[in-house]
């Protein structure tokens, strides 16, 4: 009878395990659903035309987030230009030239560290090189901080995507007498375009909600401004300041801003996923 009770014991313990995993999944999903629910409930209703046409108000007066939206877009755009140029070239070096050399391994390792380094430290670093020397916060400093967070993502995806291309593709290019750099540009990059765009979208998703590094690089601006050499308004810092304020209308704007950012991030991620699923054209 010992074997029967052992079998029963195993069945019970298995049932407990399956139960635990199911409950864990349920708990996790309901916590995350609760967050999405509050976000939509508090933010969605506040979206109207004024959000996109008026600048951040003084407490008690009507206003929107136009200056913050535009500021965020400009800063992210500048950051992405820097990140794509540096990241694609660095990723290309790692995949096409670096190989398995000690230097490539070092760059790869450090890139991985930068990929998950606390973003607030990136802000401190940029403060040191781009804010303190010129005695002033600026949109450019904010862009630089965001770029430094985006570069590792682009580098990593570029390297991975280029490595997926078969060596025969490179050899056939070179066999026709094409210089290596034109082979890379016209054949390898083109073949990996979908994956590389995915990397860009992931990087954009990563930086569009980044708050910590902007707190002391771009700072914030109450007014509409396109001047990147001065402090510029941006959604994350506006959300941060308004959420911690004591005014109800400011808090409402903070929720709206959070919805806008979440929507931007989710759109970028979903696009990235669709692109990476797309079957490779032959």
């Amino acid at each position: 009878m010992a074997s029967a009770s052992r079998s029963l014991q195993r069945k019970i313990s298995n049932a407990v395990f399956v139960g635990f995993c199911t409950v864990a999944a349920f708990v996790a999903l309901s916590a995350l659903a609760a967050i999405l629910y509050s976000l939509l409930k508090n933010g969605l209703g506040g979206i109207d035309l004024a959000i996109f046409t008026q600048s951040t108000p003084a407490p008690g007066s009507p206003g929107g987030l136009a200056n913050a939206i535009v500021g965020s877009l400009i800063m992210c755009a500048v950051a992405m230009v820097i990140a794509v140029v540096v990241g694609v070239l660095a990723g290309t070096w790692l995949s096409e030239y670096g190989g398995d050399s000690w230097y490539a391994r070092l760059v790869r390792f450090m890139n991985d560290i930068l990929l998950s380094a606390p973003s607030i430290l990136v802000g401190l670093f940029i403060y040191y090189i781009a804010v303190k020397p010129v005695h002033g916060f600026s949109g450019y400093a904010g862009s630089l901080a965001l770029a430094l967070i985006a570069v590792p993502v682009v580098t990593r995806t570029t390297e991975d995507m280029l490595k997926l291309q078969p060596t025969a593709l490179r050899e056939s290019g070179v066999a026709l007498g094409t210089p290596v750099w034109i082979t890379i540009r016209r054949i390898i990059w083109r073949a990996s375009a979908g994956g590389m765009i995915t990397g860009g979208l992931l990087a954009f998703a990563r930086i569009s909600g980044e708050t910590a590094p902007l707190l002391f690089t771009s700072l914030n601006n109450q007014f509409f401004s396109l001047n990147m050499t001065k402090p510029i308004a941006n959604l994350p810092v506006v959300i941060f300041n308004y959420a911690l304020s004591a005014y109800d209308d400011w808090r409402r704007l903070a929720w709206v801003g959070a919805v806008l950012i979440a929507a931007a991030v989710l759109t970028a991620q979903i696009l990235a996923r669709i692109l990476i699923r797309e079957p490779r054209r032959s």
């Binding site: 195993r10 999944a25 450090m110 380094a117 750099w181 708050t211």
Partner: protein, 318 residues
């Protein structure tokens, strides 16, 4: 018979070939720029924080007074706060993330597997400020009213429970910050663990089931040993995220300096202290002390991330 003089054949390079070495050089300098950036980050933290280390010495790490008015800074409070909240968050998130990933790979009905997995991956990318806001406006009031207050009222004077629950019942404390952190790192860890479980060869599963193992035994004795190393890496990566997280914590930890006296006491982390004070630092020594805090955070996360990456090996996470 004609002989061709090799010297008369003009060597012609394809058009654009002259740029080849330049292109390689360009790519190599972009890669080097990454190293320079990380190096610059370390050096700037070292230089910026040096005055604080020089003035307070080792006491910087052990003193609990953080006072911008008297310009005296001891970092024990934020350092302990960082470690406690991160470890607590990890302890809470790990079993749940493990459960979610096992559920998604082994037990969930086929139809819902992919949708839930995609949802979890998408949630891993939601900016942390959203988690922070939810913590501030929804979770903290709920926690204060329905958990903290009843516990404080129920605690007999002088008991251990009273010590643990001491604090202002406003929901902004070490424990709620840890819970928000746990919710924030959960989707990320669940997604990575799921990828790891999926990487186990199907034959291993089948042969284990074939000899009569229960699903629980398959997970514990076959799958987990197979992915153990990378799984530890994934956990460390989650810990790294929690350690450096700023916005999710700053909203809800209460931002008081000094050592937290209980789980229900307000506190601070390194990242939240920098986020709150840096832009308005009052004196050069205040600024130096904040940067010194940043260096401490960098050293902690660098160690954790280096171990994580070494453990993860070839697994790619973004």
């Amino acid at each position: 018979m004609t002989t061709v003089e090799t010297a008369t054949i003009a060597r012609r390079q394809p058009r654009g070939a002259a740029f080849d070495p330049w292109f390689k050089w360009l790519c190599a300098s972009a890669a080097t720029a990454l190293l320079v950036a990380l190096g610059g980050l370390i050096v700037s933290l070292l230089i910026g924080g040096w005055p604080a280390f020089a003035k307070f010495g080792f006491g910087f790490f052990t003193a609990t007074t953080w006072n911008p008015v008297t310009d005296v800074y001891g970092a024990a409070g934020p350092i302990v706060g960082t470690l406690v909240t991160s470890v607590l968050a990890l302890v809470m998130a790990l079993p749940i993330a493990f459960g979610v990933s096992v559920f998604l790979v082994e037990f969930a009905p086929k139809i819902i597997r992919q949708p839930i997995a995609t949802a979890v991956q998408l949630l891993a990318g939601i900016p942390s400020i959203v988690y922070g806001m939810w913590g501030l406006f929804v979770f903290a009031p709920f926690f204060a009213q329905h958990i903290q207050l009843p516990l404080i009222l129920a605690a007999p004077p002088g008991s251990l429970l009273e010590k643990l629950t001491a604090g202002v019942p406003n929901g902004a404390n070490i424990l709620t910050a840890s819970i928000i952190l746990a919710i924030m790192i959960l989707p990320f860890m669940a997604a990575v663990l799921r990828d790891l479980f999926l990487s186990v060869p199907q034959q291993l599963r089948e042969s284990a089931y074939g000899v009569g193992a229960t699903p629980q035994e398959v997970v514990w004795k076959v799958l987990l040993p197979f992915i153990r190393r990378s799984a530890i890496g994934a956990v460390m990566l989650g810990l790294g995220r929690a350690l450096g997280e700023t916005m999710a914590v700053t909203f809800i930890i209460g931002n008081s300096h000094g050592l937290p006296k209980s789980l229900f006491d307000s506190g601070s982390t390194i990242a939240s202290t920098i986020a709150n004070e840096f832009a308005e630092s009052s004196t050069p020594m205040h600024e130096a002390s904040l940067i010194a805090l940043g260096l401490v955070l960098f050293l902690i996360t660098f160690t954790v991330l280096a171990i994580a990456r070494a453990m993860l090996g070839a697994l790619r996470t973004y």
